[in-house]
Symmetry: C2
Subunit: 406 residues, 2 copies
């Protein structure tokens, strides 16, 4: 009856959302979520910030500027400065989560059929955004040191595809792989962007959640070392993983002309990001609460990551392969001998969940991969969850072997 322009084969959108119905089953231990840990929110600090913000009620309640509240932009420019990213006010746009940053960028850059690049496996909402934009998705493989930039170089040199408009990557503690792109590859990627004139979209929601290893400069920061590259990097960040997603406060740093066009697009998209939570974020940041609270989140995630990784090794031994992350929320693993979708069915029966890897692939699915998030469950639940996963694995294997034999 209706003539839609966008074919949504999947009625619920993201394949991960279809798993939501199991998450709240009684006794379920979930490694499936991409949500930060609710029990690590700084509820008192945010309550106090909200109260201070509301001392100027009009700022909270009235429409705000489309590019963001000036006071929040000032705080975020300072925050970016502390992260090694120097930018000006007209290069910074506050967005309704960093998800909106990608959407705006696609609105101004990508027409139907345009080629876009991303890592594989990739964050599913990115693939979904590309599909909504009806872009042609070309993927580049990822290993333990992040995006395989040498492969990308070969792909670009080969001339087999149209010139890509942009490349999306989560270079630090990636979702789903947890991997961090090496410094050498960051520089090489910048050189490719200059040579082939595509925008690198660096999504960095997790960079502050480091619990091991050495600081890695962002791609945006390293652009200072690669001539001509600064105009080809757009950097996204967000308060969602380091403060709370419920603020819906993200931001982008982009060359001024790109930023300006994103602001014009945003006028028609949502007029402005929620002023009330922006004002609350201002007070939270001015107060220094982020710097006080953030190390607590990062260190707790470190403890949880270690619990997950050591229990996985203990229970699965050689049957599992994974790279221990240095930050973020995710472990990406391959389990031998059984595909992850089959394993998930048995896992849910054993009251444990994860996301099968296929959700993160747009093609060439690795059936043995899975994503485990350690952010939400407590340490005891993490260990019990892995034991249940092993039980599910043994059951799935024995059923599988029976099937193969019969």
């Amino acid at each position: 009856m209706y003539q839609f322009t966008t074919p949504f084969q999947n009625p619920s959108g993201s394949p991960i959302r279809e798993l939501f119905k199991y998450v709240n089953l009684p006794g379920m231990i979930s490694f499936a979520g991409g949500y930060p840990a609710s029990d690590l929110f700084d509820t008192q600090g945010l309550e106090a910030a909200a109260a201070r913000a509301y001392q100027t009620p009009t700022r909270c309640l009235q429409y705000g500027p489309t590019d963001g509240l000036p006071e929040l932009k000032r705080e975020l420019l300072a925050l970016m400065g502390r992260r090694g990213i120097a930018c000006s006010n007209d290069e910074l746009v506050i967005t309704t989560g960093s998800q909106q940053g990608l959407d705006l960028l696609l609105r101004i850059f990508v027409a139907t059929g345009d080629t876009v690049l991303t890592e594989q496996p990739a964050y599913p909402a990115t693939l979904q955004a590309f599909n909504l934009a009806q872009a042609r998705i070309v993927t580049v493989p990822v290993d333990d040191a992040g995006l395989d930039v040498a492969e990308l170089s070969k792909l670009l040199d080969s001339g087999v595809m149209d010139a890509p408009k942009l490349l999306y990557t989560v270079p630090t503690f990636a979702n789903p792989t947890g991997a961090t792109l090496s410094r050498e590859r960051r520089v090489a990627l910048l050189e490719l962007a200059v040579k082939y004139k595509f925008v690198i979209v660096e999504d960095d929601p997790y960079g502050d959640l480091r619990f091991a290893g050495e600081r890695m400069p962002s791609i945006f920061e390293l652009a200072a070392d690669v001539e001509g590259s600064r105009g080809w990097v757009v950097h996204f960040s967000s308060l969602s993983k380091i403060v709370a997603p419920g603020l819906r406060v993200g931001w982008m740093v982009a060359p001024a002309e790109i930023a300006r066009r994103c602001v014009v697009a945003k006028q028609t998209v949502d007029l402005c990001t929620t002023p009330w939570t922006q004002a609350t974020a201002v007070e939270y940041l001015v107060d220094g609460a982020l710097e006080r609270h953030l190390p607590r989140i990062a260190s707790k995630y470190g403890v949880k990551s270690q619990a997950l990784c050591s229990e996985l090794r203990l229970q699965f031994g050689d049957a599992i392969d994974f790279h221990e992350p240095e930050g973020g929320m995710f472990v990406w693993a391959r389990i031998g001998g059984i595909d992850a979708a089959t394993l998930l069915t048995c896992a849910i029966e054993n009251k444990v969940m994860f996301v099968p890897g296929k959700a993160f692939f747009s093609d060439k699915v690795d059936p043995f991969a899975l994503r485990l998030s350690f952010a939400a469950p407590g340490v005891d639940d993490i260990k019990e969850g892995v034991r249940r996963l092993k039980r599910a694995y043994d059951e799935a294997r024995s059923v599988h072997e029976l099937t193969v034999q019969s």
Copy 2:
């Protein structure tokens, strides 16, 4: 250097935004704003609602469902029921302002070059959204009884344009004209939608701000009387004008298949509308605060509208032509003998502002039209503002006559 897909001729986007720089000049009286009156916000009621909402901090701080918090959907279904709109949970989507509703709808319905209809003059952000979608805009004139549906019928019958995908209208207390579509025209419009298979997008941010005249059923409500038409109406509403824009809480009521696709699109656009302000809205609505406070806003707007209209008649007499609105925030006027852009220049010198009509036209500009908003200024300022406007008018006329003579 960059290859953008969207041509934004106007560097600041909406033409109205270019006027913002004058609004805060000392002593300026502005009829230019489209913002609701800040001094009528129920700041205490909202503070109390926010405090109650934060008794469940996780609901405020964590990600929420893409279609909206279930508790808020329940309250809004009840609110819509009180407005005569019966709909089900899967027909209701909470959006980041109703502006996002239009954006989502365009994302799923309108491809480059598709024909879309709107009234003329129209809300500029709608024209901007159509331009971002690269749609072909066809306009239908408006008179004191709203959209000229007979003209639309002729246009559709003539076959001179491609089949339109949708028609956008603000049928009640329109922005900019303040006009309300008559009941007969609403029914006729529904019949046309069924016959020509286009979606009527009924944007209703002002409907509750009635201060004179009789209740007018929404187009959505009247769809019950026109066979086959319910599937062709999407209804937008919002808390922006009746509570506060800073919540960024709007919603759409749409046939379930349209609603579902909008939710899938919204997953990639901003994941969810700010849960913290949604939770605050829940508490505000549950408490009955809207019903208590709303009549205060509407009656104050009535007093302001009357002050503006009587002073306009007193000062301008036959030199002005306008229709007194029965609700909303706007008076649309035509002033004889001087074009509105010239008048604005003199008006700013006299410390009074309005929006020249051309901002609301995509073609066939009426140079003598202007939009006056009575929402923000107080009654004394309104009267003084009109006196200044008359002074500006006299000055502009004398300069104009001198120019013509010389």
